[in-house]
């Protein structure tokens, strides 16, 4: 598909001009019609007077001309009988029927003949004897050019040798002739449309059109171009305001909301796997899909909560948005590497209102269609080694939506995000679209986000110890949650376990070590690939193993757990907590999906 697209594009570059010229000349043809193009606007019908044979030389006198002749014709030209002798298939001799001498067309006769063939409003303006003209392709000999003073600048060519009116020409004809040159790619004026140039152009064009057709068929098959004339209303409530949307019937609730710029969460692009696109639909008859019984709780289902990507526009009832989300425009103020593959991005809010979010929530970035560079140009020296294996290529991507958690407490002046670079996965052609785009963002660049969304927020169990377990980009929501907890009136006890592969990947380590020194929290970084030559005296291995050891000696049930990180780490940790008997109500986690 991509290759076909590429080919279609380059072929178009080659053939575009000619396709345009074909269309242009075709437009001229369809406006002029056949007669206009032939310059026959003022062409009179032929003369049909009866043959007058008085005074005519007896045919037998022409005998000597008949050797090899295949036809003899007698006709009237300017009232005089003319004898035409044809030799073979297309060689002619013209004789004067009264004298038997070769035919001669004089100026006066030419004028009369031209006038007889002319039905327009003009008078003869000028007569010239000519030997050649580009206006009569393929004609040779001597002729009279009889010009008429009319609106079309008609000129009539009369052959001297035969008295035949060769043809009419006028201004529209000249344009038409050029249109034919363009259309037939024959600039000799011969209107030969079997020449090699046009054959080549035709073959290229044929391929070009067919590749377009194949692309179109594929596109139709992919469902990307669905269209329905039937539009249906969708009543929607966002916060306090209610809007009536009108939308094509086949669209899902999610698509309708997104195309109307109403903020709605989604982590899997409508795939029914992330469970983030929750809405409440006031329509009891709406069925529960498999994805919903898996991703939503019984409680939510009973309340009428559904996944917006699983349902077509409901015919009755209202769709109620769950989050108090909106659209914001952000401007990048700083972008820096905090680990070899993770950047901290800070944004100021351009939109008048500041988003009001809770710690642990995320916003959705509307990544535009663009060409992005796989390897950004501001990689710090120490990380060059890590990036060496990442090819320096540019790739084109369409617009996507990607979620990133706030990595700062609510109320902070700027919004902070930690974005992890997604290298090209096995079997994939390009690295992660969203992360690459954001890695290339420069201070001053703007992005649009929607949010906040998410339920990865703090509990209200006053007595419980707050235990945060994370890894990788899971740092972002955990940092936000910890900052918010510390800011609250009476902060609860905080434990923070953070797993990384190496010391280089331990982001914000200084910040948390300082807080630990101040006695504000317990910070336990864990390294899984600590090598002997690096001075690491902290715990080694996977973070969930360290947590397991730690929990053996404490009261597991008097804690609230917040888990966020890479999929394997998340899965292992949740399994561990379950096995230790921690109830679901005390476990909160955020699944990034990768």
């Amino acid at each position: 598909m991509k290759f076909l697209q590429w080919l279609h594009r380059w072929t178009s570059l080659i053939i575009l001009l000619q396709v345009f010229l074909w269309t242009l000349s075709a437009a001229w043809f369809t406006i002029m019609d056949h007669d206009g193009m032939k310059a026959h606007q003022y062409m009179a019908h032929g003369d049909h007077s009866m043959l007058n044979t008085t005074d005519m030389v007896d045919l037998n006198q022409f005998e000597h001309h008949f050797t090899d002749a295949s036809l003899v014709r007698v006709q009237l030209v300017d009232g005089i009988p003319q004898v035409v002798v044809r030799y073979g298939e297309d060689e002619y001799e013209y004789l004067h029927g009264l004298t038997g001498l070769p035919w001669q067309t004089g100026e006066a006769m030419a004028t009369r003949l031209a006038q007889a063939s002319y039905s327009g409003p003009g008078d003869v303006k000028r007569i010239t004897a000519i030997e050649e003209t580009w206006e009569l392709h393929g004609w040779k000999g001597s002729a009279w050019k009889v010009e008429f003073g009319d609106d079309l600048n008609t000129r009539v060519y009369v052959d001297e040798n035969s008295g035949t009116v060769i043809d009419h020409r006028n201004t529209p004809w000249v344009i038409s002739d050029w249109a034919f040159r363009l259309h037939f790619i024959d600039y000799t004026g011969g209107r030969n449309f079997n020449n090699l140039v046009i054959i080549t152009a035709a073959v290229v064009t044929l391929w070009f059109a067919l590749s377009g057709l194949i692309l179109l068929i594929k596109l139709l098959g992919s469902g990307e171009m669905r269209w329905s004339w039937r539009k249906v209303p969708m009543r929607t409530q966002a916060g306090d305001s209610e809007v009536n949307l009108v939308t094509p019937k086949h669209r899902t609730i999610l698509q309708t909301l997104q195309s109307n710029e109403l903020p709605i969460g989604s982590g899997c692009g409508g795939g029914g796997t992330c469970g983030l696109c929750k809405v409440r639909v006031e329509d009891e008859s709406l069925p529960v899909t498999d994805a919903e019984s898996e991703l939503l709780s019984q409680e939510e289902l009973a309340q009428g909560i559904r996944l917006a990507c699983r349902h077509k526009t409901p015919t009755k009832g209202k769709v109620v948005l769950q989050d108090n989300a909106a659209r914001y425009e952000l401007e990048l103020t700083s972008s820096r590497f905090i680990t070899p593959l993770m950047k901290e991005l800070k944004f100021s809010v351009v939109t008048d209102e500041h988003p009001e979010f809770k710690a642990g929530q995320y916003v959705q970035f509307l990544i535009p269609e663009a060409v992005s560079r796989a390897r950004p140009d501001d990689i710090p020296e120490p990380y060059h080694g890590v990036w060496e294996s990442i090819a320096e290529v540019e790739f084109e991507h369409s617009e996507v939506r990607r979620n990133y958690s706030m990595a700062v407490r609510p109320g902070a002046e700027e919004l902070v995000f930690n974005v992890r670079y997604q290298p090209t996965a096995d079997g994939a052609k390009v690295p992660g679209v969203g992360s690459t785009y954001l890695f290339n963002l420069k201070p001053g660049d703007n992005v649009v986000v929607e949010g906040p969304f998410g339920e990865f927020v703090r509990t209200d169990n006053e007595q419980h110890v707050q235990c945060f377990i994370g890894g990788g980009a899971g740092m972002a929501p955990l940092r936000s949650l910890i900052q918010e907890e510390l800011e609250s009136e009476s902060p609860r006890k905080i434990e923070f376990f953070y797993g990384a592969r190496s010391k280089q990947e331990l982001c914000y380590a200084d910040e948390f070590e300082e807080l630990a020194e101040q006695g504000k929290l317990l910070f336990t970084p864990v390294l899984s690939e600590a090598t002997s030559h690096c001075d690491w005296d902290g715990p080694k291995g996977f973070v969930h193993q360290t947590v397991e050891n730690y929990l053996k000696d404490v009261d597991v049930l008097s804690r609230d757990y917040y888990v966020c990180g890479p999929p394997a780490m998340l899965a292992e940790t949740l399994k561990l907590l379950k096995s230790m008997g921690v109830p679901d109500s005390q476990i909160r986690f955020d699944d990034f999906g990768n």
Binding site: L13, H34, H48, D58, R73, L210, L216
Partner: protein
């Protein structure tokens, strides 16, 4: 960093749905018409001259006699044509009441019968040894779509050959007026598709043809915009 080719892409796609199929048809029909050589389409190779050279001393009736007997003659032609198994000198007259064929000496009318037409068709046909005529038919009221009805009445002679050749001979004079074979018929269909006149295959001014042509300008325009954006923008966009 931001790029908005979305709208043009959407337009390009939807226009392609409407115009694209016709574009493909234009491309296919155009390719056929340019690749297959026109003289071949016209069937020039299928026939040859059938009339023979005039005798050196024709000894025909004088023109004065001709015009006396047929005063409405506008044009008189002396030809040596195959009639009844032999070549005969004839006057072929264009008159106000249609064409006439008369003996050059006696000025008696010459009427061509079916066997004359068969012999003439065979002599027109270029591949003499393979001349297998399958059908001879006089068309008087209805013309097949490959023939302009103005030619009626006319003889149609079908040959059993590769291109299913059909020759059309004038009922009165026996002149070959029209040549058709399958490549011409294919060309005619292509021409029909090219100008979008599905009925008479001549009108190049129908409103739908005009709409398609002018729509194509819009289509090309969206394509150019997309082309410029995708081919030339990547370098500029990355700083």
């Amino acid at each position: 960093m931001k790029q908005r080719s979305g709208t043009y892409r959407v337009w390009h796609r939807w226009l392609s749905l409407v115009l694209g199929v016709q574009m493909v048809i234009w491309a296919i029909s155009g390719a056929y018409m340019v690749i297959v050589q026109l003289p071949f389409i016209h069937g020039v190779h299928l026939t040859q001259e059938s009339d023979q050279k005039l005798p050196v001393n024709p000894g025909a009736a004088s023109l004065a006699e001709v015009t006396e007997k047929f005063p409405h003659t506008t044009e008189a032609e002396l030809v040596n044509r195959l009639v009844n198994g032999e070549y005969r000198l004839l006057w072929q007259l264009r008159t106000h009441f249609g064409d006439r064929l008369v003996d050059a000496n006696t000025l008696e009318p010459v009427v061509l019968g079916k066997s004359d037409i068969r012999a003439l068709a065979e002599s027109y046909y270029a591949f003499k040894e393979e001349a297998r005529i399958t059908n001879i038919e006089l068309l008087t009221t209805e013309a097949p779509s490959e023939l302009n009805p103005a030619h009626l009445p006319i003889w149609r002679i079908d040959f059993d050959d590769f291109g299913r050749t059909a020759l059309y001979l004038d009922q009165t004079t026996g002149e070959m007026k029209v040549r058709r074979h399958d490549f011409w018929r294919g060309f005619d269909i292509m021409w029909m598709l090219h100008i979008m006149d599905y009925k008479d295959r001549v009108d190049i001014t129908t409103w739908w043809l005009r709409i398609f042509i002018f729509g194509t300008f819009g289509f090309i325009f969206t394509g150019i915009v997309l082309l410029i954006q995708t081919l030339f923008s990547s370098r500029r966009k990355l700083r």
